[in-house]
């Protein structure tokens, strides 16, 4: 994975400049940005973008990671000593960042199948009809395709502690190909 060092440095500088009270510390934001991109717009495959995600969703996920209920080894050290207040600040920050949809190479057949499945599985009930998410429910529209597929497989195959049983149950019985179509459709969704 090539890293654009000058850009990363500029981003860091901007983050430092933007550090004001009631915001996460620049150091924390830099740590997040290393994987999740500046302002939470990630470019690395399998890393979700955090920009524009609902605040409660980010809060809850960070708590689950901190508690070890959602096991993400690379985040462990950073999260371990984080207080609820710091988590709330981070969530507020990322929820307020403008979201840049991830690039997708559109495959119309997969999109059609995915759209059909999304309708049948009633994804829009909780994720809202344009898949922007709400409250504890994440935004799906424009998220990284590989990440969406991986997350759905985890929900379906390993519904572990802290994972939403409603979400797991929503995916029972769907094949790998079904999930790939869903991920492709949602990643490429740009609004009605």
């Amino acid at each position: 994975m090539p890293v654009d060092w000058p850009r990363a440095a500029v981003a860091l500088g901007l983050l430092l400049a933007a550090a004001v009270q009631a915001q996460p510390s620049a150091e924390t934001l830099a740590l997040c940005a290393a994987c999740h991109g500046p302002g939470g717009n990630a470019t690395i495959a399998l890393i979700p973008s955090l920009a524009g995600q609902p605040k409660v969703f980010i809060e809850n996920q960070l708590v689950l990671v901190r508690e070890g209920l959602r096991d993400i080894p690379v985040m462990k050290a950073a999260m371990e000593r984080m207080t609820d207040e710091q988590i709330i600040e981070l969530a507020r920050y990322f929820a307020a960042q403008p979201f840049t949809p991830r690039p997708v190479t559109a495959q119309p057949d997969k999109q059609r199948l995915g759209a059909d499945l999304a309708r049948k599985a009633l994804c829009g009930t909780c994720h809202l009809s344009d898949y922007v998410g709400q409250q504890q429910v994440p935004r799906l529209a424009g998220q990284d395709e590989a990440y969406l597929l991986q997350a759905m497989k985890q929900f379906r195959d390993q519904p572990g502690p802290g994972r939403d049983t409603i979400m797991s149950a929503s995916l029972y019985g769907l094949s790998d190909a079904d999930l790939a179509n869903l991920a492709h459709y949602l990643a490429g969704y740009r609004g009605k």
């Binding site: 994975m1 994987c35 399998l46 508690e67 009930t125 429910v137 049983t165 409603i166 929503s170």
Partner: protein
């Protein structure tokens, strides 16, 4: 210098980021017939575009200054105060002989302990990383914790805070489904541990191990199924005079805004059938699972408790602090609806009834958490616990707080 440290941290983190490989692929799944998710079962085609969905929980601590204390309304003479906060997801409480309070949770996976050192309360996490450890009970110096897939006993925990738990899981033979199998547990007057196993669905024929209440000896032996046809009870208690069990039960969803209502039931004998999935509330036939005379042989509720109210804890008041008219009156917490166009519940009510359940009358007790003008809520009461002085603790699961309700003339 700061920038260099930051860059170093960032580089480290980036390196970690890049070395992260996708998790090993799970074995190719064999697609079974896809059942709808439990909470959506029974939903009709015309409800497909309904925006109703379960409400978000809050997993971070709420400071006392952000609690809606000022909005809480009680009958004259009663007063609410914040007794403890900062315990996200706080649900059922159990009190140790030494006065410590133990509190279960669901998603956040923790059990809390609150110590009251006279005017000031401190809390700590006793155990975490469990799958919905909502069941807590206390007996003979031991704390019992029941999660979906685990039963733990902490012997002498009040004196020995670091005690390692005894794993009792094998003896209880818990079934594997999670939905509606988060627990409320309590020891009955007979010293047995009472445990519900809810229907793993909104509406279905639940299978042998579900939609029932069981009791066990404290060590997990001697299991008996004592009631069937119970969809999802999240609270029960025993009548102070008759010693019969009274229990709340959640009605099914997606049958409309106003029906079927939740239930308050009474168990004068073991072995009774309470209707699920064929007969709901005070005699409402199910629309998906039909049979002739669906309510024949069904023990109907003492009282229906409102549509989608989410009836939780139940407690008969036996203290000396409240006025005499509250003696042996049942308090029921209603966590509040999601599957209803206009929200309903979000309160604590009293139920005055004869010891045999006759002439039951529901009266609001603690209100003010539901704002009907804009259809929003500011708290979700779930369980009560009576303190030795006769005051009543009430948990708010939404904000992770405990209120104390007292009375003074």
């Amino acid at each position: 210098m700061i920038v260099r440290t930051l860059l170093a941290a960032s580089l480290l983190s980036l390196a970690a980021c890049q070395s992260m490989s996708p998790p090993p692929a799970a074995p190719a799944a064999t697609p079974a017939a896809a059942p709808p998710p439990a909470w959506q079962q029974g939903r009709t085609a015309d409800q497909a575009s309904s925006p109703l969905a379960p409400h978000a929980g809050k997993m971070t601590a709420t400071p006392a200054s952000e609690l809606p204390l000022a909005g809480i309304k009680l009958p004259p003479g009663f007063k609410a105060e914040v007794w403890a906060t900062g315990m996200p997801g706080a649900r059922a409480m159990a009190r140790g002989e030494g006065g410590k309070i133990y509190i279960g949770t669901r998603a956040i996976g923790r059990v809390y302990e609150v110590t009251d050192s006279g005017g000031q309360r401190t809390s700590r996490v006793v155990v975490d990383k469990l799958v919905q450890p909502s069941g807590v009970a206390f007996k003979d110096g031991s704390l019992y914790v029941m999660a979906i897939d685990k039963v733990l006993r902490f012997d002498g925990i009040e004196r020995n805070p670091g005690v390692q738990p005894v794993d009792m899981t094998a003896a209880f033979k818990l079934p594997k489904e999670q939905h509606h199998n988060w627990k409320y547990i309590a020891f009955g007057p007979d010293g047995k541990l009472y445990v519900p196993f809810g229907a793993p669905c909104n509406i279905c024929v639940p299978g042998e191990e579900y939609a029932q209440i069981r009791r066990y000896n404290a060590d997990g032996s001697g299991m008996e199924v004592i009631a069937r046809g119970v969809r999802n009870t999240q609270g029960f208690t025993w009548h102070p005079v008759t010693k019969e069990m009274w229990f709340t039960d959640h009605g099914r969803d997606w049958m409309g805004d106003d029906s079927p209502e939740d239930e308050l039931n009474r168990m004068p004998r073991t072995g009774a059938f309470y209707g699920f999935p064929y007969c709901h509330a005070g005699g409402v036939p199910d629309k998906d699972f039909k049979k002739a005379n669906p309510c024949d042989g069904v023990t109907l509720p003492v009282q229906t408790m409102g549509p989608h109210a989410a009836v939780m804890g139940a407690h008969f008041y036996t203290g000396n602090m409240f006025p005499a008219e509250y003696s042996n009156v049942l308090f029921v917490a209603r966590k509040g609806s999601w599957n209803r166009t206009k929200k309903f519940g979000y309160d604590v009510v009293t139920v005055r009834a004869g010891a045999d359940g006759s002439n039951a009358k529901v009266t609001p007790f603690m209100t003010g958490l539901l704002n009907e003008s804009n259809d929003t809520f500011s708290g979700r009461p779930t369980y009560m616990l009576q303190l030795p002085d006769g005051s009543l603790l009430i948990t708010d699961e939404q904000l992770g707080a405990i209120y104390r309700i007292s009375y003074a003339r």
